[in-house]
Symmetry: C2
Subunit: 246 residues, 2 copies
């Protein structure tokens, strides 16, 4: 499995992804699931992928081929709206899945992949989209300012408690790290390193990007302080009636 997350706040966008892929428990590997495309001053696009690694990689290869091809009917730079780009990624994904569908079905395997696409095109708002395996897509909203793909449940409660459109970019980045860290701890199919990208809205620059392993000082310090903070929060919880007599 996988866990990827994008958050849209008023100040910009945050993207986070884990790096574990597996085809059964005896074939586990580390792959980045975050793809960044930037043309400073013009547009920034970040793509996160979950599901079939073959489908995800084929989609990214097709994106790169179309970018190199001046005659391509569409590519990442030609989309006027981010939803045009979402639609394009959905089509690439469906095309790839359909190509291998007969063989995959014979092996009872799935070529399904989900994507999160986010970024900004000059003159337009920051946006994030979730692209379903079927190729259709939805965007985040004011009320639901984040989107998740893969193992989304473990890391959801902290997002529901912390994230609002007014959350700062840095707090959203920290919240994404905690959400990923909680998932890594509770589910063996989600693993380090964690990639984090932070895009400052309207900058039209490349997003800030970092990769955190178990040995990264920032990640270790975040884990330690979150654990301590949770224990402190926990020790502040109300007592049961019979404890109050002591």
């Amino acid at each position: 499995m996988t866990y990827c997350l994008a958050i849209r706040v008023n100040k910009g966008l945050v993207f986070a992804s884990d790096s574990r892929t597996n085809a059964g428990v005896d074939y586990v590997a580390t792959y980045s699931k975050m793809y960044r495309f930037s043309w400073p001053g013009e547009r920034t696009v970040v793509l996160l992928s979950a599901g079939s690694l073959a489908t995800s990689q084929a989609v990214v290869n097709a994106i790169n081929s179309d970018l190199e091809d001046p005659d391509a009917a569409f590519n990442l730079r030609k989309g006027k709206h981010l939803y045009d780009v979402a639609s394009y990624v959905g089509n690439l994904s469906q095309k790839e899945q359909q190509q291998h569908a007969p063989a995959l079905e014979k092996s009872h395997a799935s070529g399904e992949a989900s994507f999160i696409l986010g970024g900004q095109i000059a003159g337009r708002d920051c946006e994030i989209y979730m692209i379903y395996p079927q190729g259709n897509y939805i965007s985040a909203s004011e009320d639901t300012p984040y989107l998740q793909i893969g193992e989304n449940k473990y890391g959801k409660p902290i997002l529901d408690r912390i994230i609002t459109p007014n959350t700062s970019l840095e707090d959203a980045g920290r919240c994404a790290m905690v959400s990923l860290d909680s998932t890594v701890r509770s589910n063996i199919s989600v693993g380090l390193p964690i990639e984090l990208a932070i895009y400052t809205g309207d900058s039209l620059e490349e997003p800030w990007h970092n990769k955190y392993s178990a040995f990264s000082p920032m990640y270790k310090s975040m884990q330690k302080q979150w654990n301590e903070g949770l224990r402190q929060a926990f020790s502040g919880l109300p007592r049961f009636d019979w404890e109050k007599d002591d």
Copy 2:
């Protein structure tokens, strides 16, 4: 869906359950999923259920019928070990499911139910078991001191961070409440009231039991303090490099 949880610590057992059942989004209701059976000085058994409400209720009806029948081949009081009782509940569940299987299959419906069974029989240790829909079962261990059924993912991270065999019964009870509360907040198929039962190991008494609605002072205070504590923990997280220049 449902979320039920049992924790075994050195000092005893904690049980928690939500109360939402639904058959589609237009048929949502409130039912207790916690059944308590106690013969003080002899044995205490608590049963939590998830899955088909019809199967769960039929199993509890059969348990009660067998208890009333002096000639029953087996009942809750006749088991020498708690695993005998787990096996009995698994058999009742399978029998009920098989009886309705042909009709359920025709409607593409499922009669599957999972159970958590816990308690103590005089002279034996406190134990908790998870009974699968297929009727087989597993017990908790030193390394995995809790068991969950239903929507188990949202509330797992806090258990993984807090619960060890040395956790006090009261802290385990608070952790169960936080685990349930996080799940209720993040998943609409899990709902209030929350039931909590705490059994003091070797007491062989009825477990302490309470039901928390959204208006229960203890639950409201727990929610408020946990939220505040989390925010404080969150504000203590390390800063990104560029924040340190400020």
